[in-house]
Structures are given as C-alpha cells and as structure tokens.
C-alpha cells in the first residue's frame, strides 16, 4: 500500500492531529527505555494515538488488510525493546486512552483504559482505602497496559504478587481487529483462562484496550526499616533468615555500596555511607501484627551482624527511605554516563553465590556493577556502569552481560523477572528452553496471530516465527518417531 494513502486512512480513523508520520515526530518512538546497543532502534512507518477501542480496532483492521505489522505502546519505559517497531510497522500509542472508567470499592476492582499511569490509579483510589499493588520503580510514568504486557513487578510484589495476580479481565483487540472481552478464571467462569496467557505476552498476542484490575485494601499499619551491613554476604544472610523464619514482608530490597554512593549524596535518604549493603524492609498488616513482625525482623538482622537498624518514625521518613530506592536508577548518572540494567532471577539460596559471580565479572571486565534489587524474590538488578563514548565500552558491557546471564542460568535462574524478553534477550531464550519448549510457545503465538503481525521479532528467537514453527515441529515429531525427513 502506498504510504501517503495509508497515512490518509489512519488520519481518517484517528483524526489528523493524532497521526505522526514525519521523521522528527517519529524520533521519540524509535526507542524505549532500554539501552541502545543491546536493542536496535527503528523508525516506525507511522504512529497513531487512538482515543477509543473502535479506533484501535479500525487501525488494526487496516494494517491487517495490508499485511503491515502493528506495535502497541504505552509510555515507552520498557527495558527490553518491546515497544520498538521492528520491521517498521505502525505504532499504536495508547497514551490518550487514559480514563478510569469505573471504580467498585466493594468488589475492590477498577475498570481502566490501558494508558492510565500506574501511580495515578493508586493515587485515585487511595481515598477509598485501596491501592494497585504492582509498583514498578517507573510507576510515575509507565502505563497499566504496559504493566499487563510485561507482567511487571515491583518491590511490593514479594507479598502481593506480580501484575498477573491483579488482572481480572481484559478487552483485547485481536490480530484481525476483532474485539473480545476475556475473563480471568473466577467463580462461575468457564473455558480457558485467556487472561493468564495474555498477561506478559509483550503485545504479541493482542492489544489490551480495557483492563479490569484488582485493587488491594490499604493496610492498617506500615513500618519501614533500614538495616545496614558490613558485607553483602551478611545482608544476604539476613534475607535468608527473615524468609526462613516464615516472615513475608511487603518488600525486602537490597542496595550495595556503589548504589548508596550514587543515591545518598543525591537524595539524602539516610543510608549510611560506610555500609557495604543496606536492606530496605517494609512490613504491613494489622497494627499488632506489624509491631510483632518488626521486632522479629530487627532481632534477625542483628543476629546476622547488622551494623545498624533504624525504623522510619513518620510517613515522611518512610517516603524518604523509599525515595532512595525508587530513584536509584536515576542517580546512577552521578557515577557514569550510561548503565545497562539486567533482570535475572536466581533461587534465593543462590543469592550469595550469584552476587559473588557478579563481583568476579565486574573485576574480570574492569566494569563497575551496582546492585539494587528485589532480594526477597531473588530478582537481581545488576547495573553495569559505562561510558558509551569510550571506545570498546559497549562491547565490553555486552560481553560481561553474556557472562552474567550464563552465571545466573547455571544456578537454575531465569532470564528476566519483570522486564521481559523483547528483542533484547530473545537470543538468550535457547539457553533456557529446548527447541520443543520454544515450538510450543510459538504455537501460542500462531494461535493468536497466525500472520505474525503483532509486535514481530520479539521474545521468540529467530527461527521460531510462524511458518518456520510448523516445519520445526514436523521435524521434531519425525525424529521422535524415528522418521527422518528427506
């Protein structure tokens, strides 16, 4: 199809002011939040900003009719290249669909459009004693639609679970533009739980145009504690003994010395500058429960050698302790012009061993690595600090990344805990999954999007796309039954 004609058609659907097509307007849509070098940027054919499900559906119909790929996009804060239009398709930016359609305080649910900003939803319902539990550090900017697509996490997911645990229903525009409502399993629901597979599918199975989210009741009481340690091992031991004691705090976050060096001078959060590591522990629940649990946590931290243990005395102080954690990425600019953030997960019992490997990699590659992460979940966030302009730095980071990912997978870990695979890590999928595992995943893609037009070249490694999958599958079956293809 002629591009001019396409733009005209898109303008007819979304209105002339809601279509971007000149290079200077497209520039911001060539990226997402990930580091370039690890993720290729690409200029989309056009960007549309629809205002309704009908418009999204009409755009997808048009694209489908013409065999043009479409990529859904929220705030573009994704960290694995998910919202970049590989192959130059149409980007459907959902930021104008930002209405909260209904809040039901008795059922503790809200029906929202996908462009609603994560934090704004929590703020909106706070007055009714509720909050939306998934709280990525990017929550001031990222959208609920993006959270759904990435199955995002955050510090509070230790206790409350990741995004998928909080999604009850979705309105989805399918590959051909059809619109369906799907329910997560709940009382009286029959059939497959399509919400389960849609959440975390990185925009490859459908575009969410409405989201029914579960809201959690605000706890009666919240305590925030900061424990400092003389070594990372001691901090990791504290994590083990807290979890081992049967305590499930709302969050359990670790920051190492390098992170403290970046954060403290910038935000004055009150982290001791001489600590090798700090743990930020939040406990919530009923007043008595919180008081009791806080005492136990303090005792456990001291037992494993905490050099100090402090509890925030006021909500303002709680917020300040949290600010250091939430702004850690932003503070890294004080240490180096660029960082590359990883998101591997390891079994909690392998934390100490893995942190040692990270240390070794940092030494071997001469690359500073800061660690600020969801320790309670074993979800690491090693930040490799570098300077893009320095010759060889980008290559060094990519090599060190390779070593780090291998080290995590070797101890039984996963590639990503919350940032997704996108285009960034699709090449690593074969490290974790067999051909048959990937054939089955590709089958899911095939069932939803047989022509591969929704967010192409993501998640599944090269060779596992559409037609190729059927060939691979036949080959697998033939081998299994001892029949050799000619």
């Amino acid at each position: 199809m002629d591009r001019t004609q396409l733009i005209a058609d898109l303008e007819r659907i979304c209105g002339p002011t809601n279509v971007r097509s000149v290079p200077s307007d497209l520039l911001v849509y060539e990226y997402d939040g990930s580091v370039d070098g690890a993720v290729d940027t690409e200029r989309p054919l056009a960007v549309v900003l629809p205002d309704s499900t009908e418009q999204v559906s009409a755009v997808v119909k048009l694209a489908s009719h013409n065999g043009i790929p479409v990529v859904a996009r929220g705030a573009g804060t994704g960290l694995s290249g998910g919202a970049v239009a590989r192959g130059g398709g149409i980007i459907i930016a959902l930021t104008r669909m930002e209405r909260v359609l209904r809040v039901d305080p008795v059922s503790r649910t809200a029906l929202v459009e996908p462009g609603v900003i994560n934090l704004e939803l929590s703020q909106l319902v706070a007055g009714q004693g509720m909050f939306f539990a998934p709280d990525p550090s990017s929550q001031k900017a990222c959208t609920i639609g993006g959270n759904v697509a990435e199955n995002s996490g955050g510090p509070h997911c230790l206790k409350y679970g990741v995004t998928t645990n909080h999604i009850l229903g979705l309105e989805v525009v399918l590959h051909d533009g059809d619109v369906v409502w799907i329910d997560a399993h709940g009382p009286g629901a029959a059939g497959l739980d399509l919400v389960a597979i849609l959440v975390g599918s990185e925009g490859m199975l459908g575009i969410a145009t409405k989201v029914l989210v579960r809201l959690m009741p605000s706890p009666d009481s919240v305590h925030v504690h900061l424990a400092a340690f003389g070594s990372m091992d001691d901090a990791a031991a504290a994590v083990t003994s807290i979890i081992g004691a049967g305590i499930l705090p709302a969050s359990l976050e670790m920051m190492d010395h390098l992170t403290i060096e970046a954060v403290e001078p910038a935000y004055h959060a009150g982290y001791p500058m001489d600590a090798a590591a700090v743990l930020l522990v939040e406990v919530d629940g009923t007043r008595q429960e919180v008081a009791e649990t806080s005492d136990r946590i303090a005792a456990l931290c001291r037992e494993v050698g905490a050099t100090s243990f402090r509890s925030a005395a006021s909500p303002a102080e709680q917020e300040l302790l949290w600010k250091g954690r939430k702004m850690a990425l932003a503070a890294m600019g004080r240490l180096a012009p660029n960082y590359y953030l990883h998101d591997t997960v390891v079994p909690r019992t392998k934390l100490t061993e893995t942190l040692q490997s990270v240390n070794d990699i940092s030494r071997d590659f001469g690359l500073p690595i800061a660690n600020v992460f969801h320790a309670g979940d074993g979800n690491l966030h090693p930040l490799m600090l570098f300077d893009r302009r320095r010759d060889g730095d980008v290559e060094k980071v990519l090599e060190a990344s390779h070593a780090l990912i291998h080290a995590c997978i070797e101890v039984g870990g996963a590639l990503s805990g919350e940032h997704g695979i996108g285009s960034e890590k699709r090449g690593y999928m074969e490290l974790v999954f067999t051909r048959d595992d990937l054939v089955a995943m590709a089958g899911v893609k095939d069932a939803f999007d047989p022509r591969g037009l929704l967010n192409p070249e993501k998640v599944l490694p090269k060779g596992y796309v559409c037609g190729e999958v059927r060939a691979l599958h036949n080959q697998a079956m033939a081998q299994k039954h001892g029949i050799h293809p000619m």
């Binding site: 369906v180 009382p187 629901a189 059939g191 649990t293 990503s416």
Partner: protein, 409 residues
C-alpha cells in the same frame, strides 16, 4: 494398583498407566496416530460436571507419576510430579513449616495435576488467591505428543508466554501435565473460626461481604443455608497467634452480628473447613450443583434475581463466599432440568450480572443441554489455542466446552 471403574457409567476400553513423562508422550503419540481420544485422570474426584461421552477409548491414570522432584524450603519453591496426591505434597511442606494456601477437596485422593487442571478455588481465595498465582513452571505433553516445559523454578519469571498459568483450569484440554513447579508460603502458626448465627440469607450475605471488605486480614468467610430461607456464616482467621486472637476479639466486640460458637483450636478449625470442602465435592448422586459468580458488589442483586428465577424450585441449598462473588446453589435433579435452567437464566437476563458453571450433576441431567457456556468471541480464541495444542482433538473430549461428541460405534 487402583482399578479404574467407570466414568459417568462408561467403562474405558483401555486404561494406560504411564510411569514417566516419556510414557505419557508415547501414549499421546499413539493416540494421535490412531486418532483415538484419551481421558487423562488424576484422583477422579471431579468427573461429574462435564459433557457426557458415550465411549472412552483410553483412560490415562496418572497416579503412577508421583513424588516430589525438588523441594528447597529456603527458596519457597517445590517441583512435584502431577500424579502426586495433594495430601502427600502438603505433608512434605508442613514438615518444613510451609504450605500451599488453597482449598483442595478430598486431598487424600486428588492429585496435584488434577487440582491444577480443574482450577478449583475455595473460600481461601478471598485472602490468599488461587493456585494459578503460585504456578511457576510446568512440564507437559501437548495433545500432539510434543513434550515441553515452560516457566522455571524461581518465584518471578517473565521469559516467554505463561503456558503454566494457561493450564490452570484448562481441564486437560491442551495437554497432559506431568509435573508442576509451585511457589509455597510459610504456614500460619495459628488459626481459629467464628460462627455467626443464622439469619435471612440475603441479609447475611451482605453482612459477611461488608465484614470482609473492611478487614483484609480475614482468611475466608462463608454463608451457607437455603436460598429462600436462612443461612449461617463462618469466618476463618489465621496468622500469628496473638494478632489472630486480637482480630477475633475485635470482631466480636465491634461488629454487631449474632456471633455464636468459636472454634478456638487450629486443628478443629482446619477440620471444619476441610469437611465443608469434602462434603461439597462429594455431593449426592442425585444432586445438581451450579457455581454462579458475579462481582462481589452485585451479590445481593444476583441473589434476589436467582430467588426469582428459581421461584417454585425447592429446596435449593446455598453455599456462598460473598467476598469473592461466589454463590453455589444445589437442588435435586428432578426439580429443574438443564434445559429449563438455561432458558430461565436467559429469560431473566442473568448474563448481565453473573456467569455460571455446572459443578456437578447426574449424567442424564447433563445430557439435556450445553454444560459449558462461553462467550462466542473468547470461545473462538480458545478453540484456536486448542487446535495448536491438540490438533486432532485427542485429549479430553467434552471437557471445557461443548464439542460435538465423537460417536464412534
């Protein structure tokens, strides 16, 4: 070895008893070649709510696939074979002070794979969610014989599509689960239950709902009785001993409800809830049980509508978890036919507020109409998933949706 007798009165032509994942793949592979369908079976505790079939070519008894593969208490994860009895899994976890906080009817018989496949969730979903939330990874054999795994053995993972969670409640229609990796949690130190004396069913449902909305620490709260008459409620509390007792005191002191018996012993309290589950699951041969769901805020409206809809059908017993919008009604199969139930549901426009599944019913009752009701748009997506996972439809005919039953006589 347990003999597989009959399912809905149909004796399987053949029973396969795989001992390994490879066996499962072979059996499924053979079924594909012969285009013969298979009924995978765990503990056979949930076989009576499904579309009846008139022949079962192969029943696959998965109880031979049992045992814990890996359990690392400090990681809060466990990997277990699908045919493991739930009670055996739970016993191993309890020995380490841990648990999987879901309600499982007949845990001595039910298998892990069966619990996942039925996707059942009882009253505890109010506070602790469902097994779906705890599924980390899985090994399975697709309907076309492909053996694969998905997810992993860590508590957080977003690498690739969430096939394990898709299998929760899939009734074995996509593949045979051979093992699952689950997240476990620390077991609560203490639990107790508080009873509330009978009152009008609709009023009580509303009171229980208000109670649970205001206090998120309540583990479960049900109201059971009769649709047209009265019900009694039971509240379950669990946690550390001190805070649990404190919550109980606070409820009794501050909430104006006719509080009655207190079951103040963890064992006795757990036993009460387990017995409720077992009784509901066992049912009676002649009983029809339907689970209706709605938004919790619409429980009252739904109850009123169901009362109207079933006017004249008596007696109808009721078991509710208002806080999650779950209402289970039961009546004797002679009181109302499936066809009448379906037409009344439509006539009163109940799709507007709720949805339902038939939990159990005598086979003859089920033969009288469509057991499963799924909106057409979603259904077509489900069916395209089915045709990738199980292209020849060799798994579980009649489970999950009303496919034409293959009559192969």
């Amino acid at each position: 070895m347990k003999r597989v007798e009959s399912i809905d009165g149909v004796v399987p032509d053949r029973v396969a008893r795989p001992g390994s994942e490879t066996d499962v793949a072979d059996i499924v592979g053979e079924a594909n070649a012969a285009v013969e369908w298979i009924l995978p079976m765990g503990g056979s505790t949930a076989m009576s709510g499904l579309t009846p079939v008139d022949r079962i070519p192969v029943a696959m008894d998965l109880t031979g696939l049992s045992g814990i593969l890996e359990y690392q208490p400090a990681d809060l994860t466990v990997s277990v074979r699908a045919g493991t009895r739930w009670v055996d899994l739970e016993r191993a976890l309890r020995a380490e002070g841990q648990t999987i906080p879901v309600d499982v009817p007949m845990p001595a018989v039910a298998t892990v794979g069966g619990v996942v496949a039925t996707g059942y969730a009882g009253p505890r979903r109010l506070r602790d969610g469902t097994l779906k939330d705890l599924m980390l990874g899985m090994a399975y054999v697709r309907g076309d014989g492909l053996a694969a795994k998905a997810g992993g053995m860590v508590v957080k993972n977003v690498s690739g599509f969430e096939i394990p969670r898709l299998f929760h409640g899939s009734w074995g229609a996509l593949g045979v689960i051979t093992s699952v990796n689950l997240k476990v949690v620390p077991a609560h130190e203490y639990e107790m239950s508080l009873a509330i004396e009978p009152g009008d069913t609709i009023d009580l449902a509303e009171q229980v709902l208000r109670l649970t909305v205001a206090r998120s620490a309540i583990a479960a709260a049900v109201a059971d009785g009769s649709l047209t008459g009265e019900s009694a409620a039971m509240i379950r509390l669990s946690g550390r001993e001190g805070p649990t007792r404190e919550l109980a005191r606070e409820l009794q002191a501050n909430v104006a409800l006719p509080w009655s018996t207190v079951i103040d012993s963890p064992d006795a309290s757990a036993a009460w809830w387990q017995e409720r589950e077992d009784t509901l699951a066992a049912g009676e041969p002649d009983l029809v049980a339907i689970e209706i769901g709605c938004a919790p805020s619409q429980v009252q409206e739904l109850l009123i509508a169901v009362r109207q809809t079933l006017d004249g059908v008596e007696p109808v017993s009721i078991h509710m978890t208002p806080g999650v919008g779950s209402i289970r009604i039961a009546f004797s199969s002679g009181a109302l036919s499936l066809a009448s139930w379906l037409s009344l549901w439509d006539q009163y426009g109940l799709d507007r507020i709720g949805r339902f599944v038939i939990s159990q019913a005598p086979v003859a009752w089920r033969a009288d109409g469509s057991v499963w009701r799924i909106a057409p748009g979603a259904l077509s997506v489900m069916q395209s998933l089915k045709s990738t996972f199980d292209p020849k439809d060799v798994l579980n005919r009649g489970r999950l949706w009303n496919e034409p039953v293959v009559r192969s006589r």
